[in-house]
């Protein structure tokens, strides 16, 4: 009989709130967020690091939640799609731009695209279309054909330059 898979307690901060939960060592960060913490906004599209749906921000950097183990996030600051809205609950400029420009259809890949763009636009608020398309090339969307996502990102970048947050 094989031993039960090893587990440990993990403490981390997600969207500004500290969580401690137990997880098997082999749990991906995405599985941990979804199933141990109940934050199901982060979606798994391929579980092999290509589609980008599970992208979250770990200490500010966009990371594939399926390729990072939960135990590696011990003590980290994680941001998921649930943490992107303004403090009053209204949509962030990026989220609002997605609504205004029809940047989503089924909405399954959207959380990973929003997190990817949140980090990218924070670092490169003057990104042009070609740069944004390159930044988005690690996120697969089957519904939209991407153009409305690019329009939304450009609009959000404009709004950010005028003083808002992403």
């Amino acid at each position: 009989m094989p031993d039960a898979p090893p587990k440990r307690k993990i403490t981390l901060t997600v969207n500004g709130r500290e969580y401690t939960a137990e997880a098997e060592d082999r749990y991906s960060l995405a599985d941990f967020l979804r199933h141990a913490l109940g934050l199901t906004g982060t979606h798994l599209g391929c579980e092999h690091g290509v589609c980008g749906a599970c992208t979250v921000l770990v200490d500010g950097e966009a990371v594939r939640g399926c390729l990072m183990l939960a135990v590696q996030a011990e003590g980290c600051q994680v941001t998921t799609v649930e943490g992107l809205a303004n403090a009053d609950g209204s949509l962030s400029p990026l989220q609002q731009a997605f609504m205004d420009h029809h940047g989503l259809q089924c909405g399954f890949c959207t959380p990973g695209i929003l997190t990817t763009l949140t980090a990218y636009l924070r670092d490169r608020p003057n990104a042009d279309e070609a740069e944004l398309r390159e930044a988005l090339s690690g996120n697969i969307c089957r519904c939209t054909g991407y153009d409305t996502i690019v329009r939304a990102a450009l609009a959000a970048a404009g709004a950010m330059r005028e003083g808002g947050q992403p």
Binding site: T42, G45, H102, Q105, C141, G145
Partner: protein, 784 residues
């Protein structure tokens, strides 16, 4: 407020706020107390038999609740297969999958057992420990080879691989070929890909012992078909099985049939008395979710001296895969779609549907049409070459004219009605597309580019698409006691924004804001009849039902208020969730008050003229398909060294009749073109000679990305149909259908200095380099 405050407007989506903030509820997000999770044991062989499954070690793992094989399933399931969706008399062997295979597996990934455990990780640990005594058999790996004498049989007890045969046509084909000025003949081979919604499939089932009732959540396009299949399998009354679609992360066709897991998971929930979930992973999706598009067309066109079509004849081999969940609908659609927007005096197509030991094929965005359009449009380009005419001119000479509508093609469509094009202006669609694409200037652009050593090309794809098929899709519209309006529909959404579209239609009738409307779709408990979200049919069917039901409800609200105020209904108007007497100081009654009136008081008679229903239902039943059409023009640049294709400009003229929400139709077209770009350039499901899938990750099977898909230039033409009250036609698939034809034509045109011909797709970089080398070798041989 005008009569169309919402219909026709770029209304923002009601769906978005939840989906943008992580509040969507997809299948794998569902949490139920005591939920167990499943993992399936699947065949590693494309064809094999087995007699024994040893699950002893798996069952002993801590956290494992059960390992079920076929013989462990309930007695109702023994000897049974999944209900065939669309029977057809020309099917030779109507075989669908068993819930779990009993002794033979016919494709890699077919399930033979399921592990139910405390969590998915443990379930997968256990599934790896299940031992099956496989006896591999020879496999049919390709549809053409499968039809040759002596080919391995896909199903061991069958003598051959013929799943069905069809013969369609009209006119005196032999005579027109005898009298033709030119005959062009080619073979076309579009290849297999699949839908790949970003959310894979999944099922959650709960069984209630009291009453033997199931609640099933499934990531599907067709909850009512799942309900029918469960009812059929377990012999239950309809009200015992409620199927609910949560948010669905894309469908594109493959989520439009009933899969074994949708029967096995409910069975497991009943056996164990616990809720059970299975969430497919991407590898399983590559192995088991249905695919489409492998076809082989051998076609010839007869033309007169002016390049006018006299007739088309040929054969079509369609790859069914291992089973026929959807019967032989796709090759039927292919064969009836081929003539497209062109006048065709004579036509004969002989179709053979072949079983192979590959994942079954079912309708995938376009459903047999992209292949047919590829064949016809490539033929038009071949005719252009043969006659020396410009490809656009050949098409122009052959178009059905707007004045000829309705146009009887001479075929019977898959809905049993004649292929009768209802409305559309095909010559105008192409003319607008060419103008927008700068087609006339292209030769100059091409010459200039070539002078710089750049290979650019242009290609055209025209199509006509039967959409909005029956049988029906219903809607109930109700005014609630909280003053809001509820729409219930059988239709399940997977990103198309049904909530927004249906609310727009209702809002115009009831003079409310769309934010006053709640739309609930895809729940068999709220709408007892439904067909499904396929064949670009929901706006036509459910939309028309919402229109007629909303109009009827408006009449009821007016009659009720008229009785209350003792005035005529004509003296009343609807405004701001109330009915009021026209004029400055008119009295009014709110929707909430009206709804409460119809609820009555315990023990009291209802007031005169009041009936206990402030709701109306409709089931729109279209008499036949309504035909959308469009013209695509692709301009590309090809690097002959690397085979890389860059799409420089993509123009779409799209006619889906009356447009309810141009923003959403643009989205469908742009997304559809992206899928078509995948089919044209990237996406190919590759199998080896033993039918083993070789492309089972997104690193092997390439999906279009933001760097590849350009912004399409989209023009809407509106040719409303008289066949439904909205004048609308389907819009979900037209972006995809002609894209491979247009793009491949453009790639070929770009490579015209090499003198090569492209008759298959996708044309990957590797394929392009191969074709260039072959053409160069050919020309070296020709050189004396």
């Amino acid at each position: 407020m005008s009569s169309t405050a919402f219909v026709g407007q770029r209304v923002k989506r009601l769906e978005d706020p939840d989906l943008l903030t992580g509040k969507g509820r997809f299948l794998d997000d569902l949490k139920l107390p005591g939920l167990l999770e499943a993992a399936f044991v699947r065949s590693p062989f494309a064809h094999a038999t087995f007699t024994r499954i040893d699950a002893e070690e798996a069952r002993a793992l801590p956290g494992v609740h059960a390992v079920l094989t076929a013989k462990d399933l309930p007695s109702e399931m023994q000897g049974r297969r999944i209900l065939l969706q669309v029977p057809h008399p020309q099917i030779t062997y109507a075989v669908t999958q068993e819930p779990l295979a009993t002794s033979e597996v016919c494709f890699v990934g077919e399930a033979v057992a399921v592990v139910i455990a405390d969590g998915r990780h443990i379930a997968e640990d256990a599934a790896e420990r299940v031992v099956v005594d496989w006896e591999p058999l020879p496999a049919a790996a390709h549809c053409e080879a499968a039809l040759k004498p002596g080919a391995p049989a896909t199903h061991a007890d069958r003598a051959d691989n013929i799943a069905g045969r069809l013969a369609l046509g009209f006119g005196d084909v032999d005579a027109v070929f005898r009298n033709a000025a030119h005959v062009v003949e080619e073979r076309y081979e579009p290849h297999r890909g699949t839908g790949h919604p970003m959310e894979c499939r999944g099922v959650v089932a709960v069984h209630d012992m009291a009453g033997d009732a199931f609640r099933i959540w499934t990531s599907t396009q067709t909850p009512h078909n799942t309900q029918r299949a469960v009812i059929d399998m377990f012999g239950l009354a309809e009200d015992r099985v409620r199927v609910i679609t949560p948010d669905v992360g894309g469908g594109f066709g493959p989520k439009n049939q009933v899969y074994p897991e949708e029967l096995v998971i409910p069975a497991a929930a009943r056996l164990l008395g616990r809720p059970v979930k299975w969430a497919e992973d991407r590898r399983e999706h590559f192995l088991t979710t249905t695919q489409e598009r492998d076809q082989i067309w051998d076609v010839a066109a007869a033309i007169d001296a002016d390049g006018r079509l006299l007739g088309v004849k040929g054969t079509l081999i369609h790859d069914a895969g291992a089973y026929l969940p959807w019967g032989i609908i796709m090759p039927y659609i292919s064969a009836t779609t081929l003539p497209g927007p062109y006048k065709l005096p004579a036509y004969r197509m002989a179709v053979t549907v072949a079983f192979t030991n590959l994942v079954p094929t079912t309708p995938l965005r376009g459903a047999g049409r992209p292949q047919a359009v590829f064949a016809m449009e490539r033929l038009m380009d071949a005719i252009a070459k043969a006659t020396g005419l410009d490809p656009a001119e050949v098409r122009r000479r052959n178009f059905i004219q707007a004045s000829e509508m309705p146009y009887d093609m001479g075929l019977t469509y898959r809905d049993g009605a004649p292929v009768m094009y209802d409305t559309g202006d095909y010559p105008e669609a192409q003319a607008q597309a060419l103008a927008k694409a700068g087609y006339d200037d292209f030769p100059a652009r091409q010459k200039a580019a070539l002078a710089e050593g750049r290979h650019i090309g242009i290609g055209i794809g025209n199509y006509v698409e039967g959409t909005g098929l029956g049988p029906f899709e219903g809607a109930t519209v109700r005014i609630l006691t909280n003053g809001r309006v509820a729409i219930y529909t059988g239709a399940a959404a997977a990103g198309q924004a049904h909530r927004t579209t249906l609310a727009q239609i209702c809002a115009d009738e009831l003079k409310v804001d769309i934010s006053d409307i709640d739309v609930v779709g895809g729940d068999t408990g709220l709408m007892p009849r439904g067909a499904g979200t396929y064949a670009s049919r929901i706006t036509v069917n459910a939309g028309s039902s919402v229109r007629t039901a909303s109009a009827e409800l408006r009449g009821k609200a007016l009659a009720l208020a008229a009785a209350k105020f003792d005035v005529k209904p004509e003296d009343l108007e609807l405004s701001h969730r109330a009915v009021r007497i026209k004029g400055e100081q008119g009295d009014s009654i709110t929707f909430a008050e009206l709804a409460r009136m119809t609820s009555g008081m315990p023990g009291y008679a209802l007031p005169k003229g009041v009936k206990p229903d402030l709701e109306a239902s409709g089931y729109f039943t279209p008499p036949q398909a309504t035909y959308s059409n469009g013209s695509h023009v692709a301009e590309v640049e090809v690097d002959p060294e690397t085979g890389r294709v860059t799409i420089l400009k993509y123009t779409v003229v799209h006619d889906c009749g009356t447009v309810i929400n141009p923003m959403l139709v643009d989205g469908q077209v742009q997304g559809g073109v992206a899928h078509g770009i995948g089919n044209a350039l990237l996406e190919r499901m590759v199998f080896d000679a033993d039918a083993n899938p070789l492309t089972t990750t997104f690193a092997d099977y390439l999906m279009p990305t933001a760097e590849i898909v350009p912004a399409c230039d989209i023009v809407h033409m509106e040719s409303p149909t008289p066949l439904n009250p909205l004048g609308a036609k389907g819009a979900g698939e037209g972006g995809t259908i002609p894209a491979p034809a247009a793009i491949v034509a453009a790639v070929e045109n770009a490579l015209s200095p090499f003198g090569l011909r492209i008759t298959d797709c996708p044309v990957t970089p590797q394929r392009i380099v191969e074709l260039i080398r072959a053409a160069e070798e050919m020309s070296e041989e020709d050189t004396p």
